[in-house]
Structures are given as structure tokens and as C-alpha cells.
Symmetry: C2
Subunit: 488 residues, 2 copies
Amino acid sequence: MVTAADFNALLQRLAGQIPAHCILTREEDTRPYECDGLSLYRSLPPVVILPESEEQVIAVVRACKALNIPIVARGAGTGLSGGAMPHPRGVLLGLAKLNRIVSIDPESATAVVEPGVRNLAISEAAAAHGLYYAPDPSSQIACSIGGNIAENSGGVHCLKYGLTVHNVLRVRVVTIDGDIVEFGSEAPDSPGLDLLAAYIGSEGMLGIVTQATVKLIPSPACARVIMASFPSVEAAGDAVANVIAEGIVPAGLEMMDKRATHMVEPFVNAGYDLEAEAILLCESDGTLEEVEDEIRRMNDVFAKAGATRLQVSNSEEERLRFWAGRKNAFPAAGRVSPDYYCMDGTIPRRHLARVLNAIVDMEEEYGLRCANVFHAGDGNLHPLILFDANAPGEIERAEQFGAAILELCVEVGGTVTGEHGVGIEKINQMCVQFSRQELDFFLAFKRGFDPYGLLNPEKVIPTLARCAEYGRMHVHAGELRFPDIPRF
Amino acid sequence: MVTAADFNALLQRLAGQIPAHCILTREEDTRPYECDGLSLYRSLPPVVILPESEEQVIAVVRACKALNIPIVARGAGTGLSGGAMPHPRGVLLGLAKLNRIVSIDPESATAVVEPGVRNLAISEAAAAHGLYYAPDPSSQIACSIGGNIAENSGGVHCLKYGLTVHNVLRVRVVTIDGDIVEFGSEAPDSPGLDLLAAYIGSEGMLGIVTQATVKLIPSPACARVIMASFPSVEAAGDAVANVIAEGIVPAGLEMMDKRATHMVEPFVNAGYDLEAEAILLCESDGTLEEVEDEIRRMNDVFAKAGATRLQVSNSEEERLRFWAGRKNAFPAAGRVSPDYYCMDGTIPRRHLARVLNAIVDMEEEYGLRCANVFHAGDGNLHPLILFDANAPGEIERAEQFGAAILELCVEVGGTVTGEHGVGIEKINQMCVQFSRQELDFFLAFKRGFDPYGLLNPEKVIPTLARCAEYGRMHVHAGELRFPDIPRF
């Protein structure tokens, strides 16, 4: 148990090593860090430390280890699964000040960056060389590469260009012992065990990333997007399957249902077809010839699949307008509902219609509305459950609705997360997703990197005790009470 | 220490569970298993077991665990780093009989296969649906998917389509405790820690794969290959860099130096330019229009980079002939030299000329010839060191030459393996590649999955003791003596 005396000892120990302005302890300063993008769960951190160098990160980690104080790393705080929610008895380690772009090598098409660098800032810096960093979470203007690495973030272009795990070549990590290790390489394969992939998406449980080498790719000469209308989600789902079956890998392939387009259109004026039960946005990028050829083939597939309207962007401005609706679906939800809860599950594409229909039934069951935006190409659903936190019982119903969606994803052979991570949000569903033996392996792996259980404890991997008590977790007025579960 | 009595106890225990014809103990039966494709190292296994079902795999693993007997898994035995070399006091577990293609799902473009299925057999079975399995090791006619998973195998098409790790979606594994676990999913991301990637390439150290779900992709409508001649390896290297910088991802991009083309041409009659100091083979695949466009662009790049001859395949027959030379480089080496040693390191592409020139210098130093074939697009070198095992000192010089090449790869920022794995061959170079802390993490991870140290022990991850004694490993007449190093 960490006590106030331990925190005093921590601050004393760090006094000579961390500048005073990098240590926040007053409630008015620490309050902004009480949650990440999943504001449903909050916990005020006793202390926030914002190191300005790798040496300072090492100092913090060593001091916390010596005093047995948990550490929760945080990037820009845009995460959607509570991965950066503070530990009530731990240090919140904000990495936003480690924001240098260390180098860009146009010849090998790589960039070396610190974790606090914003996702979009990498592409901005690489633009001079005709290069960019492909993964593009909707929050890319704000989110940091360190957070992207922690959550293995995706984005609308990940169907063609992969998730974060496919675009990071190497990480430099401070271990819980305060050592520096590096995993991954610029080579296609890494010798020994491929621990880089395990780091990416490990949500702060294995170490603190202080530098990453990312892959850059040439900016395409041309990009155009088709907006296709369909009379049913089934027809749109079939059209998605048919495009993939044609051997086309679109740069992006997104679906929005009627509730989502109606929510977004008055806000963005993207020009969406409000008669359609579902629309697809399907992008092609490459050379002029490639794009022309691919757009023609995709249009053919959609026409055959029963599209009722097909429109191809005729300018970069129009292309961005088509995407603006999709990219602003979350803020649009905030406009039509006091609160919304963005879920993130994946399913085999063939079960799309079944799952969307089941969600319609669940709307009745839980008495809440749900709009669906969907990375259709890779089967990643983002149902947006609309609710009012001030209406009695709605938070609980929203949570139950979300849990039911995730468990349905598992039932049809999918998973409880696509690109937002597990964090605190989906930890119970991990009990549904994995067997006891599989969870044991996760815990064994975690222990190998963090034998003291200090790195983002009580997140992501449920203990058996937690799985046993699933259904009885206490959430009250958005403040999560930590049960006294054993540390792993 | 495992004794003869332990093996008797093992055979007794398995008597009712494994058919007698699946257990080999006579030297005439076990001799064929004494090595894999790296015949430089041999060790006769005391017993070979060839299970016919997952239940039998479980029975073997449980019995071995109970008796503390090491297990070395083996696929088709085509591995090139000694990963499947038997343990002198262990069971050699051959998985060739687990060779069912369980299912092919054309809609989701996946196949579920057992580990003994041959790589090419997957594509043959998927061809009816217009699909194929992309990774294509040169041994694909013989090698098994289980072995591909163990070594994270590549092939000439991996530049565009990725290594095994990018094409396997899920594995089903028997753990050392005899439990079944599954990692990975059909979804793009996996919740929790991404242990699938760590399994792939783990060389039999973490568990026994009994089933895998692999990704299939549509067979391209068209493929053509350019054969380009260059007056120097530098010029060819620059041409490779320029193609990549153009934003083109060729389906394959291979380089062979003059020594390699001269070795191969009399054997294969591929039509290679024997005047050129280096040739590139550069393939485009896709629709007719895409291929036409890409071939035109690649030809332009090569012409500007100083190609002295450019020839594009005009028929499928010609395309296969161009590739036949490259794919038969290893057998061709066997034709011109009593023995050859195929190395496998990767380097950042920009250091290609530097490394190839250094290899020329090393030929003098070690008094041996070396031909170079090269997955140029992804920086994966395969120097073929030619030697005569019967000439005094040549084995040792070949090993030292190989080690020097690998250590140079590390020095320029590359790695000691590209696609052949570490096995027993490169275990010393792992000491050069990784720091003590990094090796400690590998060991901790390994322990999490195999606390008893029974799964392919003494391979891949060097102990600190081994790194300390590196340089004093005993190899005598191709028989490796295991020093009494501590088990991890």
C-alpha cells in the first residue's frame, strides 16, 4: 500500500533530478489528468510528472520502483479505453514534453521521433521529402505517437497501410529497472523473439517508450473517393465483401448507417445521401492511372451490388469534404446527445449484417439509440451509443449495451477491440475473449517485463479474481472504485 | 540429466497413446532426422515421434514434461539455421503427419491448416477459388507451414506481401503443460498483448503449433518481371533505392552479383546477362493496366540509374525462367562447390554496396569464394560461401567468414537474420546483436511459456555464460558438442 509518506519520499528523491515545474501536485493542476478520452472513468492522480528528457524518465522510474509506486504513462490523453486513467495511488507520467523529431531519413524512408510528437506532426515534417506517416486516427491532429504505440492505433487508411504495429520499426524503451532496451529493427524481420509487436499495443504495461523509429511512405500522386449509397446494410456489407474479393485493397473503406449520416450531415454538410440506409466511402490512391483504373473497377462492383447512387470526388476539396463527415462522427454525436459512448469491436466481415441487426434489437432492449460508423474493410465497428449521464440509470445501461456488443463480437469470431485498446474499459470482456490459460500467458509475459506489477497495474489483463467477480464491478457517478484485487 | 531409463519410461507411458509405427528408435530410422537443411551441424536423436493427431501431440508433451525430457519440433526439415537440429537427450517431434487442410473460406479469404501442410499445397488447394498463400520460400514445394511459422519464413514476394508473420492470422498451440491456447484472430488487431507475432519466428521455444489460420489473397491477373543489368553493384543498389523512393512496391526485387549469375546460368539457362556486374529481377503484379503502368515506371527508373540492358518477360514461361535462376541459386552452388554455407543477414538498403565490397575483401581474408543473392528490396542478403568440408580448416574458415558477415550486418544497423531464423547457427551473433538486458527479456519471455526449459533448449537465445564463452564453442567433424551450460 502506497502512503502519503511514500509520495513525500518520492518528491524528495526527485528534487535534484526533475525540475520543479515538471512536477504537479495541486489539485487544480492534476485535475486535467483525471481521465483520458474515456471520460466515463476518472481518478485524480496524487502526482503528475512531466519529464523533459529520457534521463528524467529513468529517474522517475527508478524512484517509483524503489518506493513500489505504480506508474501510468500518458501521451496526449486522447485514448478511448481509459488506458491512461491514473492510478489512485500512483504517478501519472505525462510524456508530452518529449516531443522532438530526432531525425528524418528520406533515403530509408524512416523517422526517429520521441513519444510526445503528434501523429500529424510526423507527416508535416516528412512532407518536404514527399513522404508521410500512414496510420491516421481521427484524433491525429492531437494524439501522440507514444499513445498510438501504446494502443496500436488505426485509422481510416489502415486497411491498405496497416495499423501502428505495421508502421513502427523499432522502439527504445525504459524498463521498470531503469535500463534502456531496444526492440525491432529497420530490417524486415527481427532476430530472436519478435517482442516489438508485443510492445506495440501493450498499453504502458511493459515499459516507457522514449523513442521510436517509424516507417514513412511516399505521398500518393492522387487520391479519389467514391461515395456509394445502398438500400440496406446487408447490400452495403455485400458490396464491401465483393470489393475485397476482387483483389482490390482500397486506401480506405468505411461504412456509415442511416442514423450516423443523419447525425453528421447537419453538422458537416458533407453531401451524404440521407435516403440511403447505408453509405460506403471507398478511396483509391496511387498514380493517376492506378486510381482511374481502381475507381472504375470499384464503381462496377458497387453498381452490381445494387448501389442506388454513386458519386466520385472530383477535386481534393470534395474528397476531404466526403471524409469530413466520417472523421467528425464523434463530435457530431456529442452535438445530438448529451453523452455518447464509442465502442470498438471487430468482426469477420461476413457477419456485418447480423451484428448490425442485433444492435438494432439491443437499442430496444437497453432503451438507448446507437449510430454505427464502421471501418468496413477491416471489420472494425464503432457503434456510438447515445445517452444522458444525468438521466438515472443511463450510464449503467450504456455500459451494459456496450458490453453486450463486445460479447457479440466475440461470439461471431471477432474481438473486443479493433484499435482503441482494452484499458480499463474492456477488461471484463477480456474474460470472455480469452481462456484462463491464455490470460495466464499474458500475465506471465507481463511479469517477465514488470515483476513488481508497477506499470499501469489493474488494466488490460484481468486477474482470475476479476473474471470471477465480473458483473459486480463498482462504478458510481463516473468514479471507479478499485476493489482490492491481487496485483500481478 | 535425462537417462536411458527416462526414455524407457517415456516409451512405456506413450505405448497406449501413440501407435508403434509413429515412434522411431532404431538408428537406421532416426539417422534421417539428425539435421535439418543446415547439415553442418548434426546430432542423432534418441527417439523420433511422429504424432498423427493433436491428442497425440498433447500426450507426448505431457509425458516429456513429466519426465523432464527436452522436445525439439520439426516440420519438413528444410530449415537453414539448425532450428530443428535434435537435442542429444531429447525427443525429436516430427509434425509432418499433421497435414490436413482443415478448411478454406473463400469469403473471408482464409485457410485453416495443420502444421505439416506444405507451403505450396495451400496455394494449390486455394487455386480453385482464385486465391493463394503469398509467402514463398525457395523451398516452398517441400517446406511446411509449421516450419514457416517457426522461422517466420520469407521469400521473393515478401517485399510486397510480407513475411509469414504478416500472413498468419491465428495459431493454435499446445503448451508445455499440454493445454491448448490460441493467439491472434481474424480481426486486424488482437486485444491484449500481441503474442501472435512473438509465436511466429519463435523456433519451437514456446509451444507446438497444431493449427494455423492463414490469409489468402487473390491471384493477380497478370505478372511480369524486368531483368536489368548494371555495370556495378553500387549502380544496382542505387536503382533499388530509386524504385522504392518512387513509391513503387514491386512484387519482388532481387539482386544477384556476377559470381552468382555465372554459377547459376550454366545450370538453369535462365538467360542472365553474364557481362553485368549485377542484375536485378523486378516483378510487377496486378491487373493488366497496373502491371503495364508499373513496368513502364520501373524501366524508366532503371534506365536513369544506368542499366546497360533491360528485358521484360513477354510470357509466363519467360517470367518463370527468369525466376528459375534465382530460385535455384542454392542447388547451383552445390553443383560448383563440394559444400556451401548460405548466410542470411539483413542490412539497411543504403549500405548494400559497402557490405558487398567488404564481403569481397573477406574472400581474400578467409581464402574462400562467396556468391551473393539478395532480396534487395527488403535488404535481406544471402551470401553463399563456397567451401570443401574435406579440405582441412575450410569448415572453420567458412564459419568464421559467415560470422564476420553477420557481425558486419549488425555494425551497419542490420540484423543477423532475415528469414532463416537463429537456430543453433547464429546463436553467438545474438550476443553481438542484443544487450544483456534485451537477452534477459527474451529469457524472461521464454520462461513465461516454458518454465522447465524443455522446448528446443539451448537454441536461439544465448545464455550469458554462452555469450561469455563465445569464440570457444566446440565443433568437430560436423558433430556439435553441447557444453554443460545452464538451462534457462
